[in-house]
Amino acid sequence: MALPLKYNFRNITVRKSSTFATAFTIGLTVGVFLMVMALARGIDLTLTSSGEPLNLIVLREGSTAELNSSVSRENLNNLMYLDGVVREGDQPLAAPETLTLIYKPRKGMNQGSNVTIRGIGPMSNKLRSGFKTVAGRMFQPGLTEAIVSRRISERFQGLDVGDKFRVQTTDYTVVGLFDAGGKAFESEIWVDVNSLASSTKRDTYSTVLMRAKDQTALASLAKRITDDQRLHLKAVAERTFYEDQQGAASGVLKVLAVFIAIIMAVGAGFAGMNTMYAAVARRTKEIGTLRVLGFRRSSILVAFILESVAIAGIGAGIGILLALPLNFVSTGTANFTNFSEIAFNFRVTPDLMFWALVFGVGIGFLGSLLPSIRASRFKIVDALRAS
């Protein structure tokens, strides 16, 4: 026969301060875990959402990032008209792009970070869904005008509409701000690819982005470009390209999250054990009475475990509530693939919240085992005789 749940909940509310202290300790543990994981998840989601499923990115053979890639103008022409590339009218849906970095101070600071400037071709917008200008207008091809992602404009000095910035000896004027649907491009400045080529005196492009007709065409295009010995290029699905970048940036954070969480959980677990041992000691006589009434040892065991799990559940709830507001916080860090700023949001996703809850309840369960076993092992006579 199980003890009524009411028994547990009445007990939880008897020692409010003790219950709250224990729950809050677990809450802090869960909260810290969730915050660090939300940071890692923010980076991951930004990068994984960045690749379009049918886009193919062509880089120099052996290069690991767009920044150290180069594709010659001659090769661009070979690539654009390959079979399997989608056409818009008679123009292939492919665009040469050039990447460079510019060092900008953060708002309110003297120091800052590198921001990516992407020179884009006429088709680049069409190759990326989610792009829209949110202030000002699109730059005019051939002019030294630029559009800046809203997030970057918010985080760095001198990148608002009307501001000018310098690349080598050329001044670019910011004419608009854009959003890119939460993708990695929201950490960039976009200018005309040919303007950027002339201001950086580069005679090659960094990469070529192209849209394949379907998955089969994507695979065969990738193979054909990579295998062509004359080109010295490699082609990868854009999605894979961005997914491969996430490990480096968020891996460290995930390790840190698990490391901190485990140690904090041990600390919180010990504290929880203290609370439960005290509860058991205080109610020794009560346990004896329950046993006299016919409740089994197993019922006592389950009752104490449930009580602890419930406290831990409240704690996990507190932790989730503490971390949840982070969902609206935008932050940024260095993406070491391109050595430049990547802006993103903390993402407290439902699956992370679920794992946080499991984690918190797990602490409560493990912490309650020894005290509950102790409670269930009392001899009736001894228990009743306790003071």
């Binding site: 120099r60 932050t331 260095a334």
Partner: protein, 379 residues
């Protein structure tokens, strides 16, 4: 002090509770110390930089290269003691997991500019007289078993080249997970666009007063050229790297704050339970004539002993662990992984504070009860 025996007896009365509380303190303090050490290493570049050294990069960003010819012009600037190219090669040894820094430098100038590097004169001579030579930091020897005479191939995705070097010496000081080699050697091998180009110059100034002057003078030389420069102190250069990472510092402090707060809750809960259970005893002590202050001190003393023991074990354990396992081997850019004196002192201060703060309210409340109230308690 005459009550120290009583305090000790009280602590040992509920051995299990004391043990659990101390264990909780120990792991939390260990975590705080670990995180603080990570933070120390993270800001080492700016805090432990050489005040006489400057870094020159392209004015736009590190993504642009500078002509190696700048070196001659910089050398003529008054106040410059030595200058050399310092170029990130990004070479990978066998596998991407084996990440370590490798730089192309003007070998004969290396010791003049990087004054912290120490190595034997014989190895130094062997290094500068062999164009293909390289020197490696002591920790790379520990990690990969490098030894003088060994040939090591590094593959650089930036330059799209695999280059073989011959190790000529082992150095200590600075980041010992670094490999240096001759810029002259690699300049022959890189693709055309990278020929005679470097990523930064490292400058050593004659005196601290010269540092801002040199920075200004260097930048003004190249202001209207194709490759304008930005010269700043090594400290500012390091800070720019640290700010690149964003709010790491604040984030870490936030986590440490949360741990310290949970520590306070744990200890506070323990002391609250302890004090509550002894309410009736307090009544008896009062009946025997004990003053309120004495009773409060008994509880405060008990909390302080528990936190001090926890602090000593936590701090000692962290020291022992980090001294026996050098974690810096496995973290890029970390030069050591030993807590600083400040960190240990800080951890100790946190535990004393937690000890005092945890017991204040309970001790105040229970010691202020009247004899009758305390004796009537049902705990």
């Amino acid at each position: 002090m005459k009550f120290s025996k009583l305090v000790l007896k009280n602590i040992l009365r509920n051995k299990r509770r004391t043990l659990l509380t101390i264990s909780s303190l120990v792991v939390s303090l260990f975590l705080i110390i670990t995180l603080a050490t990570i933070l120390t290493e993270f800001t080492r570049g700016s805090e432990k930089s050489n005040p006489l050294r400057l870094v020159t990069r392209h004015a736009v960003s590190l993504g642009f290269v500078l002509p190696v010819a700048h070196q001659q012009r910089i050398a003529t600037v008054p106040g410059v003691k030595a200058v050399m190219p310092f170029s990130w090669f990004g070479g990978i040894y066998k596998d991407e997991k084996n990440f370590f820094a490798n730089f192309a430098v003007d070998a004969p100038k290396l010791r003049d500019v990087m004054t912290e590097l120490k190595m034997s004169d014989a190895e130094w001579q062997a290094f500068i007289s062999d164009k293909q030579g390289a020197i490696v930091g002591q920790k790379l020897v520990t990690l990969y078993g490098f030894s003088p005479g060994q040939r090591v191939t590094l593959k650089s995705p930036i330059y799209d080249r695999s280059v073989e070097f011959i190790i000529r010496g082992v150095c200590t000081g600075g980041d010992e997970k670094t490999l240096f080699f001759h810029h002259e050697y690699i300049n022959e091998l890189v693709p055309a666009w990278a020929k005679d180009q470097v990523s930064t110059f490292s400058i050593l100034a004659n005196s601290a007063d010269d540092v801002p002057r040199v920075a200004q003078a260097v930048d003004s030389i190249f202001l209207n050229t194709d490759a304008p420069t930005k010269t700043e102190s090594e400290r500012d250069f390091a800070i720019s790297f640290e700010t690149m990472m964003g709010g790491v510092k604040q984030f870490m402090y936030g986590i440490m704050g949360a741990i310290a707060f949970s520590l306070l809750l744990v200890m506070g809960n323990t002391m609250a339970m302890t004090v509550r259970e002894r309410t009736r005893e307090v009544g008896m002590l009062k009946a025997l004539g004990f003053q309120r202050g004495t009773i409060a001190i008994l509880f405060v003393g008990e909390a302080l002993v528990v936190t001090t023991v926890g602090a000593l074990i936590g701090i000692g354990g962290a020291m022992l662990l980090f001294k026996s396992v050098d974690l810096s081997l496995y973290v890029p850019n970390f030069q050591s992984f030993v807590p600083t004196g400040g960190t240990l002192l800080g951890a100790f201060a946190v535990s004393i504070f937690v000890g005092l703060a945890s017991v204040t309210y309970s001790a105040y409340r229970v010691s202020g009860m009247t004899i009758a109230e305390a004796l009537r308690s049902t705990e």
